[in-house]
């Protein structure tokens, strides 16, 4: 057994203290210790983007991040951007523009898009497509997802 280590995280504006096995990924800790199941485990190798969360302001694949490496860091998950009584503009746009089918990739898409729009509020279609290169979707064919993200500023 690996020696457990102390981990302090700020997750969705809440202070969390944990004792974890250093082998565990940030995704695993978010889902299983903190019961935040919005970030999904897809490929578990950084290719599909379903596990995307925002770490210190930047979109990252939480499956490819050791939780231990994030000590003292700030994490925002899809639960953190979703208002209690409604949807984030990106979520609303995906619903209204038909950018959702099975939904497995959606939370990762949302987090990537939120980080993208945060840095670049008026992206071109090419910038949106390039920004979503690390988020795989087997249902929609991407067109409506990209269009939804472009439509956010109009909403």
């Amino acid at each position: 057994m690996a020696k457990k280590i102390h981990l302090t995280l700020n997750v969705n504006d809440e202070h969390k203290e944990l004792l974890i096995d250093p082998r565990r990924s940030l995704l695993d800790v978010l889902r299983n210790d903190l019961e935040l199941r919005g970030a999904h485990r897809g490929c578990d190798s950084g290719d599909c983007g379903a596990c995307t969360v925002i770490l210190n302001g930047k979109a990252i694949t939480s499956c490819m991040t050791l939780a231990a490496d994030c000590d003292g860091d700030t994490v925002i998950t899809v639960e953190g951007i979703t208002p209690v009584d409604g949807l984030h503009p990106v979520q609303k746009a995906l619903v209204e523009e038909g950018g959702i089918q099975c939904g497995f990739c959606t939370t990762g898409m949302v987090m990537t898009a939120v980080a993208l729009l945060d840095q670049n509020p008026h992206p071109t279609i090419e910038e949106v497509r390039e920004g979503l290169a690390g988020n795989l979707c087997r249902c929609t064919g991407y067109k409506k997802i990209a269009e939804a993200i472009l439509s956010v500023e109009r909403k």
Partner: protein, 277 residues
């Protein structure tokens, strides 16, 4: 994944000491995007993991007489940095060809070098730009031309207890370019990567993914320097570069195909540099 001891040193000397004590059984982690994949697949099982992300000496991006990039500079920072985009556009373009934004926000230039994958995208362009690796260990600091840094697939000149601290890139007078050939535009490694830097009195052509280490095509460089860069000379240089490459057959391409693509990509790169003058 096998269990390991976890360390998060705050200084270079502390990190170096932990690495030395573990005598080669310890691995540094920065972005982790290569290391964790190998550990998850069971191809690597280090006894200790040393998180180097909390070491301030490994950070920073400054430009005065040359560019100094801390080893922890992320690929996304290289892609987006106004300094790099202005003075070394080919370097930020090379970073932009890599992975996805999520991975680029994690992965570091130091990791891309120290993992020493033959296909590492930043290696050919950094070698073409004549970068120097600044290395520190128990015995102090040493500087190695990045061209000499790689010794084989996954291998570099770093000794036990040594860390890559930063990369220094001299100011460029001429033009440079990085071209990557891979089946997909994103999320794929290079079948052939070519970094070219043309200066007034030198030409550096560096090939990635077609030899055990990033390879300078020195004969092709000589051809480029032997006279004015006509279309015929460029075609000859590209053919020579293909002859100099030493690719292997693998799932991404055969030896024949890779050599052919070296010729195509070197020609394309030189033509672009000539036409942009």
């Amino acid at each position: 994944m096998k269990s390991f001891d976890y360390f998060s040193p705050k200084t270079l000397s502390e990190a170096s000491e932990i690495l030395s004590k573990n005598n080669g059984d310890a691995r540094m982690i920065a972005g982790g995007t290569d290391l964790l994949l190998k550990m998850k697949a069971g191809r690597l099982a280090p006894k200790a993991i040393v998180n180097i992300k909390r070491i301030p000496d490994l950070r920073g991006l400054t430009f005065n007489s040359h560019l100094t990039m801390g080893a922890l500079t992320t690929l996304e920072e290289i892609k987006g940095s106004p300094i790099i985009r202005q003075h070394y556009p080919a370097l930020s373009e090379a970073a932009a060809t890599m992975a996805s934004v999520q991975i680029r926000n994690l992965a570091t230039v130091g990791g891309n070098m120290c993992n020493a994958a033959p296909s590492a995208d930043l290696a050919p362009i950094l070698i073409a730009l004549n970068a120097v690796a600044v290395i520190r260990g128990a015995k102090g600091e040493r500087r190695v031309s990045l061209e000499e840094f790689f010794t084989g697939p996954g291998k570099s000149v770093l000794g036990v207890g040594e860390l890559l601290v930063s990369l220094e890139v001299p100011k460029q007078e001429g033009r440079s370019i990085y071209l990557k050939h891979s089946p997909r535009e994103h999320m794929d490694i290079a079948v052939v990567g070519v970094g070219i830097a043309l200066q007034k009195n030198s030409a550096r052509i560096v090939l990635g993914a077609v030899a055990p280490i990033p390879l300078r095509a020195k004969k092709a460089e000589e051809e480029v320097m032997s006279g004015s860069l006509t279309k015929e000379r460029i075609e000859r240089a590209a053919k020579i570069a293909a002859e100099e490459s030493k690719p292997i057959d693998d799932v991404r391409g055969s030896v024949w195909y890779r050599k052919k693509m070296v010729e195509v990509v070197v020609k394309r790169g030189l033509m672009e540099l000539v036409n942009s003058d």
